[in-house]
């Protein structure tokens, strides 16, 4: 057979593509369960990081079951049901109109203290950013945060995952003295930061803004819940 003929070239291509496609599908399907499990573990690690624990990947399952005592599914009018919050797709929920949204809230119990953990999802400069913020029993003071990102600039926007940036959030408040929702602002060039502000990352204005918008958008969903259940859940 003439190796350089058009029909041979065509035949060769088709056979090659079928083999490659088959091989890749088999790999993807067999490895999928393990990969999904990794993603879930990562989520659990991030949740636990927001209450200032630092479990390894292997410990994540055990620690999660130990500390996270309850998961609520919260609606924007403040009502809630219990359920499995790990499976909720935040991106889809946040695209829905406000009154249809159902967002999860994890309740953790560590050394006799209760913490309320809220998952975050928003836009950075290049792609999605996400995270978790935990509030103390007063449902106002931030206990800890953890952030993640897909493609923020290394050395600039990607710094939102560093402890230096995250530690700033500790002790900040999301409601002011009169009980109005303020969220937490990420500000630049401010000499004195008040209890609702943290310092932005220099050189990463868009990512910092993204963090601020994400906190504001997601937290505002829970305002009614916080106001109504401040006393009966604690």
């Amino acid at each position: 057979m003439n190796k350089e003929s058009n029909s041979y070239t065509f035949f060769f291509t088709v056979v090659m593509i079928v083999i490659v496609a088959f091989g890749l599908s088999v790999t993807a399907i067999t490895l999928k369960p393990v990969q999904e499990h990794n993603k879930e573990l990562e989520k659990k690690v991030n949740i636990l990081q927001s209450i200032n624990l630092n479990p390894t990947f292997e410990e994540a399952d055990k620690e999660f079951n130990k500390y996270i005592v309850k998961t609520l599914l919260v609606k924007s009018d403040g009502s809630f049901t219990e359920g499995n919050g790990l499976d909720i797709n935040l991106k889809e929920e946040l695209n829905k109109p406000e009154n249809e949204r159902v967002l999860p809230l994890f309740i953790a119990q560590v050394d006799g203290h209760k913490y309320y953990i809220i998952p975050l999802y928003g836009k950075g400069l290049w792609g999605p950013i996400w995270g978790f913020v935990s509030l103390k029993e007063d449902m106002n003071t931030v206990y800890g945060v953890s952030f993640g990102h897909k493609t923020e600039t290394p050395g600039l926007g990607a710094k939102i995952v560093t402890e230096e940036f995250r530690n700033q959030f500790k002790g900040k408040k999301i409601f002011d003295k009169n009980g109005n929702f303020t969220s937490i602002l990420v500000v630049k060039n401010q000499k004195q930061l008040n209890e609702h502000q943290v310092d932005a990352i220099s050189g990463a204005t868009m990512t910092s803004k993204g963090v601020q918008n994400m906190l504001n958008k997601v937290l505002s969903h829970y305002i009614n819940f916080f106001k109504q259940h401040k006393n009966d859940l604690a």
């Binding site: 190796k3 060769f12 091989g23 890749l24 990969q35």
Partner: protein
């Protein structure tokens, strides 16, 4: 392998296929291929080592595959065939890393996918595997990836040590007590330009010790 029966598997000529690319035919310092990824993944040693191993797997098996089908490939579409084989291997490596080395695969992020565009691999397939037997191609792949990996490890060793004060995550400088006498990490080492400069120093040392490499 029929024509090779006189030659043992690890004959001097075959071993040269491994040792040459580590030394005087090094793909990075001599042929100056694969520079881009060498700059990008060398901030820490662990990702650099995983990257080197991934390239080794991809290069060795792409080389063998191309060599096995070298008599079947129509010349006109050989580059596309090579790319398909490389992409196939890279996606498999990427999927395996995602399943069994999740944290490392996150650190390497896009660079695993970019192995596809690593010129060393295309270069070896085109220059070597298309004209040689599978076993020789396999050795050539291992050798070239080892040469690439060696440079990656050397560069990342210095960048991690001087930039973060650690070796494979172990805080060496802190244990030596250097910080208490006023030493500070050099943040510049973490940035890409210093990778280029480190690489330049390696090329310089390499050439000064091996005079054959200096152009007339």
């Amino acid at each position: 392998m029929k024509g090779q029966e006189k030659e043992s598997l690890f004959s001097p000529q075959n071993l040269k296929l491994i040792t040459d690319p580590i030394g005087k035919k090094n793909p990075i310092t001599v042929l100056v291929l694969g520079i881009c990824s060498a700059l990008a993944v060398t901030v820490q040693m662990k990702p650099a080592i995983v990257m080197a191993l991934s390239v080794m797997v991809v290069l060795a098996f792409s080389n063998v595959t191309i060599s096995l089908i070298r008599k079947l490939i129509p010349t006109r579409i050989r580059i596309i065939v090579q790319l398909t084989v490389i992409s196939f291997m890279v996606i498999i490596v990427d999927q395996i890393l995602k399943a069994y080395a999740y944290d490392v695969s996150k650190q390497l992020s896009v660079f695993v996918g970019l192995i596809i565009t690593n010129c060393i691999i295309m270069g070896r397939l085109e220059a070597f595997a298309l004209g040689n037997t599978p076993w020789k191609s396999f050795l050539d792949g291992i050798g070239n990836a080892a040469g690439y990996g060696l440079i990656l490890v050397i560069v990342s060793f210095f960048r991690e040590l001087l930039g973060s004060g650690t070796v494979l995550g172990y805080p060496v400088l802190q244990k030596l007590g250097l910080y208490s006498i006023g030493y500070e990490n050099n943040g510049m080492m973490i940035l890409p330009p210093m990778a280029l400069i480190t690489l330049g120093v390696i090329v310089w040392i390499h050439r000064s010790r091996n005079k054959d490499l200096i152009e007339k």
